[in-house]
């Protein structure tokens, strides 16, 4: 028996059931060609209107939910150095450490990289369309991990706000780190960037070892450097 574990699965099943009903009605009409009486019109209204609208609504939400997942980000092979490392239970990279946290989990890419201002989800998805365009036009024929392609970079600098959503800069453990304590005001103002110290090589080491730089894979790419002073 198929079990439903998430809202996304429930939405997908609802959408598929609505799609099947719609298709059955439409095929019935195409095969039988009944006169357009009242009953036929009402049945067709379900097949042409109500059910497809149901498919679109539930399918959209299910699709949007799926786009938040790391598995979706890894759909483009150039992202594999990032997503494989994040999903690796043995990796000590910042991305992997965060991905093992239930607050991030399967949605770790989106949680750290989404815009959080008003309409942030929308701007993030519009940027996703740009990703798709660039992937098709520039990266589709690159190597298994994107080697040979242009170096991948973010559209805008990584903001401290992405980190301080969780790392509030007030926790005693965080302040116990001398580097943090010494520049806490600069960090809060944004004059000092978190990624100045916790740089890309520590967040996504495999990507910076090969695919993300457009270079071919290297022997030690899967041995990430352990981050210094991982903090709560």
């Amino acid at each position: 028996m198929y079990e439903i574990h998430s809202v996304e699965q429930l939405l997908k099943i609802t959408a598929l059931v609505a799609a099947v009903i719609s298709i059955l009605i439409l095929v019935w009409y195409l095969v039988r060609r009944p006169p357009l009486g009242r009953i036929t019109k009402v049945i067709l209204l379900f097949g042409l209107g109500v059910m497809p609208i149901g498919v679109a609504l539930t399918g959209n939400i299910a699709g949007f939910e799926y786009t938040l997942k790391r598995q979706f980000c890894g759909s483009c092979h150039v992202m594999l150095p990032y997503t494989e490392d994040a999903a690796d239970p043995k990796s000590n990279s910042l991305a992997a450490i965060h991905s093992r946290n239930h607050s991030f989990g399967e949605e770790s890419c989106y949680t750290c990289h989404a815009d959080y201002q008003m309409f942030g989800a929308m701007t993030t998805k519009v940027n996703g369309l740009k990703h798709l365009f660039y992937y098709i036009t520039e990266y589709a024929n690159t190597g298994p991990y994107g080697e040979g392609g242009k170096p991948i970079h973010m559209y805008k600098p990584f903001q401290n706000g992405m980190c301080t959503r969780c790392h509030s800069t007030t926790a005693p453990n965080w302040l116990a780190n001398q580097d943090h304590a010494g520049m806490v005001e600069d960090i809060r103002k944004g004059d000092a960037k978190c990624i100045d110290c916790h740089s890309g090589e520590k967040i996504h080491p495999r990507a910076f070892a090969h695919g993300g730089t457009g270079r071919p894979p290297v022997a030690d790419a899967s041995a990430p450097e352990a981050p210094k002073g991982a903090h709560p």
Binding site: L16, R33, G37, L48, V55
Partner: protein, 93 residues
């Protein structure tokens, strides 16, 4: 001149367009790859909206009695159209 045949053609085109739209949306759900999702959420819904608009147009034309008195239908293999079908339903016990 809009005839009963036109109305039936509108419904036929609407039906086929809806099948394409639903197919695209189902593909986006079953195989959630980036390109398919974009196609499902753009072209799929565009086709779906167009087909519904076509169907509603056909219904409006039919309700206005367009082509009701034409007798082209039987000559091309169709039964009498909307009005006649409605009358048949009304007569049914």
């Amino acid at each position: 001149m809009i005839s009963t045949l036109t109305i039936r053609r509108l419904v036929l085109v609407s039906t086929i367009t809806t099948l394409v739209a639903v197919g695209l949306m189902v593909m986006g759900i079953v195989f959630p790859r980036p390109l398919l999702l974009v196609l499902a959420m753009s072209l799929g819904q565009l086709f779906g909206t167009l087909s519904l608009a076509l169907y509603l147009l056909a219904i409006v034309l039919d309700l206005q009695g367009v082509g009701e008195h034409e007798d082209i239908g039987p000559h091309i293999g169709f039964d009498s159209e909307g009005a006649a079908a409605n009358r048949a339903e009304d007569r049914a016990p």
